[in-house]
Symmetry: C2
Subunit: 385 residues, 2 copies
Amino acid sequence: MTVTGPKGFRAAGVAAGIKQDALDLALVVNDGPEQTAAGVFTRNMIKAAPVLWTEEVLRHQRLKAVVLNSGGANAATGPGGFQDTHATAEKVAEVLGSGAIDVAVCSTGLIGERLPMPAVLSGVESAARALATGPEAGLAAATAIMTTDSKPKQALRSHEAGWSVGGCAKGAGMLAPNLATMLSVLTTDAVVEPDALDAALRAAARVTFDRLDVDGGTSTNDTVLVLSSGASGIAPRVDEFTDVLTRTCLDLVLQLRADAEGATKDVDLIVRGAASEQDAINVGRTVAEDNLVKTALFGSDPNWGRIAMAVGRSRAEVDPGSLSITINGVPVFAQGLPGEDRAKADLTGRAIEIVIDLGVGSSETTIYTTDLSHAYVEENSAYSS
Amino acid sequence: MTVTGPKGFRAAGVAAGIKQDALDLALVVNDGPEQTAAGVFTRNMIKAAPVLWTEEVLRHQRLKAVVLNSGGANAATGPGGFQDTHATAEKVAEVLGSGAIDVAVCSTGLIGERLPMPAVLSGVESAARALATGPEAGLAAATAIMTTDSKPKQALRSHEAGWSVGGCAKGAGMLAPNLATMLSVLTTDAVVEPDALDAALRAAARVTFDRLDVDGGTSTNDTVLVLSSGASGIAPRVDEFTDVLTRTCLDLVLQLRADAEGATKDVDLIVRGAASEQDAINVGRTVAEDNLVKTALFGSDPNWGRIAMAVGRSRAEVDPGSLSITINGVPVFAQGLPGEDRAKADLTGRAIEIVIDLGVGSSETTIYTTDLSHAYVEENSAYSS
């Protein structure tokens, strides 16, 4: 259940002193024989220093290690912040005997403050000494990247042929008080060519991380990395690898959703019958981000009128006469007319499935979201500094 | 302070029995000599029956009367709902001795339920009998269109030359539990040509009603109408008229914001230095709809990192190095670098001004918004049916 599940990886999580009395710095090292890597990043125009750095070093599609810290996003920190990221990568390279160009950096925490670099640099040394294989090391790394996550998120999928994909993740969107970022590191011992690894990650992220929408936030630091050691010696078909990678990512995404701040509902928004996949995504995101829909779900209210309103204000092709909405199996709105009594849709449980059939095409998607609760407002207002 | 302020108008608000024991049906009648009219409507693809009707009758740029009801939106009600709207207009035409094509209809309330037509039709007869000039009649009309509004919204601006613009409004965006809609009726006794009236209303709404964004909702029923009686006999310059109309609309918009459900802050988002006005609007709306920004404001927290994040995820042209953010006069982020201590920005009062200078152009706009409070979540979850 960890980044150290696949062969060829060591990890560590240490208390570097960036935060008080908590694990706050993680290191994941690829011992090879291969060091292929790929990444996808936030589309926010205000990119944190570690994102700018890691996008750059990934141009050569190879990574020896990833260093991650919680306790500070190193975003909106200007050239000085970029120098801090660079110095962190140089330190990792020094202790591992590699080049800084082979080291990715990820940060998460408060935007707009510089990192305490003495703590970060000595933390890198401690982490290098603590590097180990096995699930405890993976768990320590997954724990060190947590911010307001209530538990670490890990996943592992093994293929019968003898290779596997592991991963860890933290946060989702801009979920946490003052804290940015969804970070995830995936590892595999499958042998995968660089371009195939890149394509597989993009395909997997497109239907998993990109389909999670808790509050519409896109942080300055979002980063998903995949590292391949090739240590299994097995080269799976690209579609096989993409499938296992996708399922590993979805496992992490559902853990992120379940632990989203203040969430009391796990909501699957299934949009069907769209004129294009982009239309389906637009509809799903508009509904997922609609506060009136989200508060109704918090109140266990199958208020399809609010859903219809949100569908109508998306930019998708919508025909009012062909729209249907089904909530937990009850067709409350059918082809433009009120359907069965909304009271039949029981939303008192945690899992809610809403099917929105636009009836104008054949494209579909699923968006993973939550409700909007008092706890979300509380955690994001009362406790911010 | 009312639609009956300008000469040539009568109004009424009655309890038709659509709601229990409350004014719920309003009638505004233009006694001329002119009956010029214009309207702007929701851009939601799911348009309520009264919107479809009123868009159609306004093609001839003339209205004798507007009938408005609360207690039901008549949206997502199919052909039957449209017949109900038509029957309502016919009834108004009958009691006033005009044609249905001269009658606009507006509805607000729960989406997806048919109106109780016997109550609506007998309410029209009562309203016709109650029609009167004077502020009491205007107040009754403004009261009858309220849903969860805590008070009626009215405005009046008089020009020294002897003409005036009056108006009333209710709700804003999708603010209320189960209830859709921002409705507004404006009246004037200025003499204005039909095309000029249409252009003036579009210009005024573009910088007032279109700049109010409480929760991103765009209801199925949003309607703003302006009726000109020409009873002053004075034909102002178009720019003069547009200016007075705009100021009347802004007065109503600020009343709508102040009474938005759960709002504890009145927030002006001033976006400057944008590459285009559309970019400025995109930035303002993205920040206004961002739940992390809104909850921080509820907590009186000048959290500029969340604002920067929201700016970066808009689709506008943004250069991280030229972005500046000033909160209640304190430059907390200046050209890409942290500025003065955020603690200097006192947000404990109700009025908050946030200036976002993109530093890439010369366009600007102001978006009017609120915070996101516990009361919003409460009113939109606990009390919905």
